[in-house]
């Protein structure tokens, strides 16, 4: 009984967060931005094209979720909290990007901000299930690779990337896509479990 109720509360409270496919266009944008910065930085129109495609992709996925899974408006307090966190991390990401461009430190502050953002998103999940492992693994991996240059390990050269920031962007993009796919899988899995429990009248 209590398990089904917890699943319903978890699903409802974290509904937009569980719509993992939303992370895919954003992940693809970050990945392609990293590749663009590494190989074709001369073409300044490309980031705007990528941004437009990301925006369109995000809108389409939003429509898909609304039609297939429905809409939930989260509690006002939670919406404000999410908005403030989003703005805070956006500002931090921009500042750290400028900081990294100036190459003040031999590490990636953008990477650390992305890792912190993933963790903040994880902690905001109410009644988070134990199997939200991918957020912690991704954050740890990005943070570790951001700090590795301090030990003299220039890992981005091993994979043919020119700079640490580009390497972090490419890695973050790939991880966002992966987390998105897992998140969507979790949404469908939890929905099926709740639906099954309702049918079996086990609530």
């Amino acid at each position: 009984m209590s398990q089904s109720i917890e699943q319903i509360q978890y699903l409802t409270q974290n509904y937009s967060r569980l719509q993992g496919l939303r992370a895919i266009p954003v992940g693809i944008f970050v990945l392609l931005a990293g590749i663009w910065a590494n190989f074709a930085a001369g073409n300044l129109g490309m980031p705007f094209v990528l941004l437009l495609i990301t925006w369109l992709g995000y809108g389409l996925i939003d429509q898909y979720y609304a039609r297939q899974y429905g809409k939930v408006t989260t509690l006002r307090q939670r919406r404000i909290q999410e908005f403030i966190t989003g703005i805070l991390f956006m500002v931090l990401a921009l500042v750290s990007f400028v900081f990294d461009s100036a190459q003040v430190l031999a590490m990636s502050s953008v990477g650390l901000v992305i890792a912190a953002g993933i963790l903040a998103d994880f902690w905001q999940n109410i009644s988070k299930p134990a199997y939200s492992f991918e957020a912690i693994i991704s954050a740890a991996l990005i943070a570790m690779l951001s700090l590795l240059p301090l030990a003299g390990w220039q890992w981005w050269h091993w994979v043919g990337v020119g700079t640490l920031t580009n390497g972090i962007l490419i890695l973050s993009g790939l991880l966002m896509i992966g987390m998105g796919v897992i998140g969507h899988g979790r949404l469908t899995h939890t929905l099926k479990a709740v639906e099954k429990a309702s049918h079996e009248q086990s609530i």
């Binding site: 319903i8 409802t12 509904y15 297939q68 006002r76 929905l191 639906e195 309702s198 009248q201």
Partner: protein
């Protein structure tokens, strides 16, 4: 002390039904939800879900708002203050019942 089976009868019968309980639990955890979400959550058919929603609305536990978005019907449902109180009272009763059932079982085992 009354035994837990007698107290089962005091539970709110409107809420003591899996689909309606799922609907109210979900609505208590958000500001509002649409018909599609509740259908996915409960696994009910459109007709059956409409019936359950109507029962909850008639009891004043939820508020249903029907509108048209891009010429398509869109139904948004939110829990009322009475609904929130009812679901909280129900869970408190159920927790109390569980405690009593546990102690009742222990007492009957020792006798």
């Amino acid at each position: 002390m009354s035994n837990p089976f007698e107290e089962l009868a005091n539970l709110d019968k409107l809420l003591h039904e899996p689909a309606r309980l799922s609907i109210l639990t979900a609505l208590a955890a958000c500001e509002s939800a649409d018909f599609t979400f509740l259908r996915r959550l409960t696994g009910l058919s459109d007709g059956n879900l409409s019936i359950q929603i109507s029962k909850l609305e008639e009891a004043g536990l939820i508020h249903v708002q029907k509108q048209f978005v891009a010429k398509k019907p869109s139904t948004h449902i939110r829990i009322t203050e009475a609904g929130r109180n009812a679901i909280e009272r129900y869970w408190a009763q159920l927790q109390e019942l569980k405690k009593k059932a546990d102690s009742w079982q222990k007492t009957s085992e020792t006798e």
